[in-house]
Symmetry: C2
């Protein structure tokens, strides 16, 4: 890995996550904001049709369309599947991409603060994340990797890449403070790449806390698939806090508490993300680890 020549900033992969969309529009209007001396930056508004409809997607979740076999499957022709192929041609192709780094901007209804979502643990990604943590101490790093499974995110086109996930923000809204913080993280990422290209990396910390994905937990449901419980009030908003065995996780509509019954503590994230109800995800469980690199 010598030098990063082309960076893509992607917004609006989900059409109802406005922060990335209006940031990309801003960067389009003021390209100087994202231009740096030693690489080229391009923006991509990934799913404009979904934005028109103020929905996450038109036909299917675009950010689950980037597995190689799906990109190559000629029968995958709906709007997002087609859009994924176009994006893969533009930024990729996956495995041998024209772009060296992809930054994909998301929001969540969960209390995720400022999260870097890693699709792989490449040292460069970890180093960038560590730098962003030094710029903005609230940054947390979530490594969403299912061992043995290919990642399907748009940013998985490049090995060097991550998503930025900020929240809580309701779908279809903007929050000015988080808009500004997201912009700051984008700027800092570009600064870091610029310094990397100049060989001026001066990282104080050579380790980082990473929340490693373990598994997802679904809502309690009837046999017909209807949810029977909500996130427990004592867990709501407690993303990245330690959850120990015996603590409440759900409250049924009838008022009964359901407890976390695993044997080891966990650090849940994406608690009560709106878009994950249909995916059968009430939260993702992680393991907190310090990684040295």
């Amino acid at each position: 890995m010598e030098k990063i020549n082309k960076v893509a900033i992607v917004g609006g992969t989900h059409g109802n996550e406005f922060t990335g969309i209006y940031l990309v529009k801003k960067f389009e209007k003021f390209p100087d904001l994202i231009s740096r001396t030693n690489f080229e930056t391009q923006i991509l508004f990934a799913n404009p049709q979904a934005f028109e409809l103020v929905r996450r997607y038109v036909d299917t979740d675009l950010n689950r369309c980037f597995k190689l076999q799906d990109l190559e499957n000629q029968n995958k022709t709906n709007y997002e599947e087609t859009r994924a192929k176009f994006i893969n041609q533009m930024l990729g192709p996956k495995g041998n991409p024209k772009f060296d780094f992809i930054l994909d901007l998301h929001t969540t209804t969960a209390n995720m603060g400022l999260t870097i979502v890693l699709a792989n643990n490449h040292p460069f990604n970890l180093k960038t994340a560590a730098y962003l943590s030094s710029v903005e101490p609230d940054v947390r790093v979530y490594s969403w990797i299912n061992p043995g499974e290919e990642n399907a995110f748009v940013n998985s086109i490049c090995e060097l890449s991550f998503g930025i996930e900020v929240g809580p923000i309701a779908q279809g809204t903007l929050k000015a403070d988080l808009f500004q913080k997201t912009e700051k993280l984008v700027q800092a990422s570009l600064d870091f790449i610029e310094n990397f290209n100049e060989g001026k990396l001066n990282l104080i910390n050579q380790d980082i806390i990473v929340y490693k994905h373990l598994k997802v937990v679904d809502y309690p449901k009837t046999e017909d698939g209807e949810i029977t419980a909500m996130i427990h009030p004592e867990l709501q908003g407690r993303d990245y806090e330690q959850l120990t065995p015996g603590e409440p996780i759900f409250l049924t509509f009838d008022g009964e508490t359901i407890y976390y019954e695993e044997e080891i503590p966990t650090w849940p994230v994406f608690i009560n993300e709106a878009a994950y109800y249909e995916k059968g995800i009430a939260m993702c469980l992680t393991k907190k680890e310090r990684i040295t690199f």
Copy 2:
């Protein structure tokens, strides 16, 4: 006005406002929760198709379909327009309804807490609201009346009626604490009606603070209708707090602050409601008044 014989509890007028939907489902499963000695209570799941799609509506906002001329217009035939006519037949007809009281359950992404939304200032509605305030001190009363304009809400079918609007809740999610508080307000409303029917009204307070609707404020926009600013961080979440001339209301994407420039203070509500972006409403301005009844 002698006695209330039939009460309708409406949930899911908007398909992505889950609190009312799952409350109505709960009441369907446990009808004893809403049965009282001296009147009949029925539930109505107003927009099940929109819920299936996890959207506010399929074709048009159901809660703007209840003007008499629209209910009578044979050319209004899309899903919600048709549904409105059905609901009007079931609960109404508007002006001469089969039901005496309608309670319509909503959520908002704005920080509205527990709000009673009045479509008219009938003393009975004010008395019920005052009672709910005594049960739950966080309750606020918003009188959303445009003088000279017919109300188009589902609960406008009955003169005795109001909406309950709780937030902040992201669309397509549940928050257990607000679910429980909403349920408590429904229960308290039914208790109040039961006591009213028995002639046992024992209200300590005979006045109430009402936030009276003045006008809506749109986002700053380009000539093409694209928004150019967000709710200012200093205003975000400050629903029902006094806004005085000269205070910030918007922050443009470029970082410029826009100030409230009217001459008198106001109390904004529905600040940053997701569903109102498309309606051209960044917030509603109100006047805080004490009403004696």
